[in-house]
Structures are given as structure tokens and as C-alpha cells.
Amino acid sequence: MSETFTPPAAPPKAPATTTKHPPNWLKIVATAVLLVVLLLLPVIVGNGGVAYLKLAQYILIGAVGGIGLTLLVGQAGQLSLAHPFFLLVGAVGYAVLAGDPEESDDLVGLGLPPLVAVIGAIVLCGLVGLAFAPVAGRLRGIYLGVASLSLVFLGLWLGQSLDMFSGGTSSGRNAPVFALFGFEFANSTPAPTIAGVAIQKQQRLWYLFLAFALISYFLARGAVNSRIGRSWRAVRDNEAAATSMGVHVTRVKAGAFVISSAFAGLAGVMTALWLDLVKPDENEFTGTYSLTVAIAFLAVVIIGGLGSVPGAVIGAALVFGLQQFFLLGSQQFGWFADAAFGGFSAVVVSAFVYGAAIVLVILFEPGGMAAIGRRLLARRRSPDVPSTDDGGRTTPREDRS
């Protein structure tokens, strides 16, 4: 077993910094177009395309959670499969903090304002992450990965047992409606419109999720490019060297776990709002907070490129979006419609694509989507600069993002 999660990889340095080069117009224009598309998405899909909006919201949940995990696994080198557990804590935490105390005698609800509850749920997740940090700090690599898996099992059991918080596996409990300064993220009459499209609950949730995702994105990039990020990478690459440079290894590792858990907590709140429901799973393999989700988040991080924040967003689009997109498409356009019982249905095909994506990325582009993107940009910037693809059998990781 190597002593850190990854052997010191030769991280590809960005070939040049922007100060030496003219501004990268391609990048700027692409970012602007993307932002406009995201902001206008409810108008683009219209009131009839709410299903696609729902899908887009789901991708953002994956993105927020994925960003948190990529910091932990890619930047700080700690393999964790416990993400679904923190999602569960976040979702239940939000329901408990914001829940109406009058709702039911059997449920704990503190009736806090929703925004306070969201922040509270995130803080709660961070604290739970901190509680696990001493264990995480002692373990490395795959040992940590499997150890963190026990939290998923624990979550299943706690969710079933503590039904005054979770609502129980039977029916769960309502996810309190989010509201900001009296503006409810629910349907209303009359509803405001943008370009003739009514801005109802799902459209409002989209903007809320987009805000959550953007905040997460910039916070994560800020962390990566700051002192915190440098200390994570120092610990990841060589603990002894990091210590000699004055990095407090235990504290840095714990910090990474706390931050990652907090992101997962926000993703959990989003899950509750997305499903209109907080309900612990009925078993450990299928469900909202299950092992399948643990693997899915890991796939997000791998496909995106370990440690890359933008990569995690693209990974989320592929992993969280693909299956549902296939299903929507097969419903709307009749893809795989003639699949017989037990044949290649949309569900089966999407699983193949998902598995193949993981295999192909690691086979041919261990740096994931992030490496591909970086190469595209680098090539565009200056044809003389050698591409980051050095052909070495190492796994490039992000140093900056």
C-alpha cells in the first residue's frame, strides 16, 4: 500500500499563466454563453418542458455533491464513499430545523426560517464530518474508502430507527418549502413570467439550485487556489514533506473532511427540495442515500478528473443526467421503445454507457474531462506549448482548477 492515497503524481502544470498571454477569449465567450443559457433555461424549455428542468436541477445536486467530493478525494487524497450519508444528514437536518413544530406530534420540527435551516444543515454536516475525522485521519486509501462505507450502513439504520427526525421509511416527512424574505419557492397565482413562461415552483427551484451551485463552485475554486488548497495537495502528495514544511497534517485532513461533508450537506438539502420529500431508504442498494449513490459520486469525480472543480460539474452532468435523459428521450422520441421485456431498455443501455465512461476515462484519459478541457484550451492558446499529455503512466491531478 502506498502511503498516501496516490503516489506523488507529476501534476501537469498549466503551461502558462494568463498574465503572459492575451486574455483567452474562447474561454470568456464560452463562459458567458453558458451562463446565459443556464439563466434562460426555464424559458428555453418552456412550461411544457418541466421534465427537462427537473433533470437539470438533478444534475446540479450531483454537481454540488461532486464538487465537495473532488476536493476530498482529488485535492486532499482521502478516498471516501460516505457521501450519501452526509446527504441524508443534510436532508434530515433541513427538515428538522425548518419543519413546522405543529406539523405532527411524532416529528421534531424547530420551525426556523428556511435559509437559517439550510445553513444549519450544512453546519451540522460539517460537524458530523468532524466527528468522523479522527477515524478518517488514521486510515488511508482503500482502508478509508471501505471504512467510510460503514457510515452509509449506519445512515440506513439510523434513518429507520430515529423516525422522529427522519419521518421513517414508510412515508418520510415533508420537505419544508424554501422561502427567502417571504418569497416562497412554490407555485403561486398569479405567477411572475419571463418571456411568457410562468415562473412557478420548478422554475424558482432551478434558480435557487443554480445559485447554490454557483456559490459552491466559486467557494471550491477559491479554496483550491488558496493556501488551503496548497496544504491539501501537500498532504496528498507527501505527508512527511508537508509536515516538514509546517503543515499540520491531522488538522488539514480533518478540515478537508469537514468541508467536503458540508458540500454534501447542501446537496442533501437540495435533494429534499427536489423530491419534495425526506425519506430514508428502504434498503442499502437502491435509493436516494444508498451505495449506488456512493459509487455514482465517485464516478462523478473520476470522470470529471480527480480534483477538478469544473470537471466535477461535467461529471455530474454525465453521471446524474445520463440515465434520466435517456429515459426522457425514450419516452418522448421512442428510443429503445421496441425493447422487449428483458431486452436492451433505456435503463440497461444507460447503465452500460455509465460503466463504459468510467472504464474509458481511466484507460485513455486518466485526467478525466478536466484534462481534455485543459488540452483543448492549451492547444488553442499556443500551438508551441506541448500538451499536458505526457504519455506517462501516472494520474494527473489538478493543482489549480
Binding site: 482502508y143 471501505v146 442499502e284 442498494f285 421485456f341 468510467i358 472504464v359 481511466i362
Partner: protein, 292 residues
Amino acid sequence: MNTFLQLLVNGLGKGAVYALLALGFVIIFKATEVVNFAHGSLVLVGGYLVYELKDALGWVLAAVIGIVGAALAALLIERVLLRNARSADHNSLALLTIGIDVIITEEVVRRVGADIPFIGDPYDSQPIQIGDLTVFRTQAIALVVGAVLITAFLLTFRYSNWGVAMRAQAENREAAALMGINSSRVTATAWLVAGALAGVAVLFMATQDFSGAGLGRGTHAIALIAFPAAILGGLDSTEGAVVGGIVVGLTEALSAQYISFEFSKSAVFLVMLVVLVIRPSGLFGTKELSRV
């Protein structure tokens, strides 16, 4: 007391199968430092072959083909995919096996379709009564087969050329290569053996007595329980895998009865967690010498 004995017998029988699976993880890990997340799908490949062939060829021949099939599937994964990956990082390769696992599992489950294949024909659902004690034949045979195979393996591992080569490689890959040990062959053999053990294990797993269900996602899930077994014993210890398997089998059986059934799976993971906190490399795992 009867209940306790009964649970003990069941727990040991299952523990033997977990040990076979955990041993597979450990062998591959020792040879390549890769954790094979696709072990569950190797189990499914072996089981599926038995199910497809047993009516035409008879159970014994089908079982042999199943075992060989699982071994070859493992070899194929190593030769075609892992060997050609551009990343040599063991953890990335471990993640690659997750992708393989998703595909194989989905395909086997799709092929099985609406059927519920049970593949323990010669022994399944034929309990033996010893006084008040019921011994499930599947568990009893699993225990015997497990004991024989594991002993055989440990002896081979200790005394054969392959075993020496593999231990050398696990110790120090560079030095082993300098001594003329063919790393490629050692690795291939390790995957073959691990696959074959998975092929044997499934003959007991997809039965009424063992899992209560036929071949399917549930079988795949059982392979996951062998994970804590391997970790608990220490990923690079063959003896550890055996002890880990038995501990997991007994923990599961006893906690289900004496604490609560729904707690039993968490119990397995909690036991593992406690062990890891005390010994971060498992019970018999090699301690890391690097100290910060």
C-alpha cells in the same frame, strides 16, 4: 442453546464463503496492489454459466465450466483492461474495476431476466437433522470445500514457486523483477486464482440455504459483504482474509439474533471500523512503517 448452536453453524458456513471471496480480494491486492471492485461481477459470471449449462451438461460439468469461466473473465479484465490502462495508479485502476462491474452486473441481470436461478442442485434445500440441530447441507459443504481450498491455497502459497514469486513481488516489485521473477505471469495467475475462487463461492451463494435467493443483484451484494472481511483481516494477508470471513459470518448471524436483524449489516461494518481504528491496516495487515 439450540438457537445459539444453530446460528453458530450457519455463521461458520457463511463465513467460509466470505473467506473464499475475501481471499480473492487479497490475492489480487498482493500481486498488483489493486482492489478489485469487480469481484461481485466475477461471481455473477460464474453463476450465470452454471445456470445456463447445468440442464444440458449436468451440474458437475457446468460447475467446472462456471469456475473456469469466472477465472478466465478475471484474466481477461487484467490482460485487456488493467494492463493497457494509461494510468498506473493503483487506486485509479481500482476505480476502473467499478466501471467493469457496472457493465457486467447489468448484463448478467438482464440475461437472467424474470428467472430466479438457483444453482446449488446437489445440496440446496436438503437439511440434515442432528437431534434438534438442523445443519444446512449447503453451509456444511461450503465449510468443508472452503477449508480444503483455503488450506490448499495457503500451502501452495507458502511452498510453490508461484507462491514464493508472488510473495517476493508483493514485498518488493523491483527486487523481484531483478531476481528474474516474471511479474506479468505472477499477476495473471493471481487474477486467475481469484476468479476461480469467486466461481466456487457462487455455487453456494445462489442457493436457498445461503442467501434465500437465486442469482441476481442480491448475489452481487453478498460479494460486497466480503469486502469488510478482507479489510478487517488486512488487505495483504491471506490468513487475515480467512479470519475476516469467519468474523463477518459470525457477527452477521449472532447480531441479527441477539441485537436486531436490521442492525446486523451495520454491525459487520462497525466491527470493521473498530478494528481499523485500533489497527489501521487490519488484524493481520502489514503495518506501514512510514511515520510522520
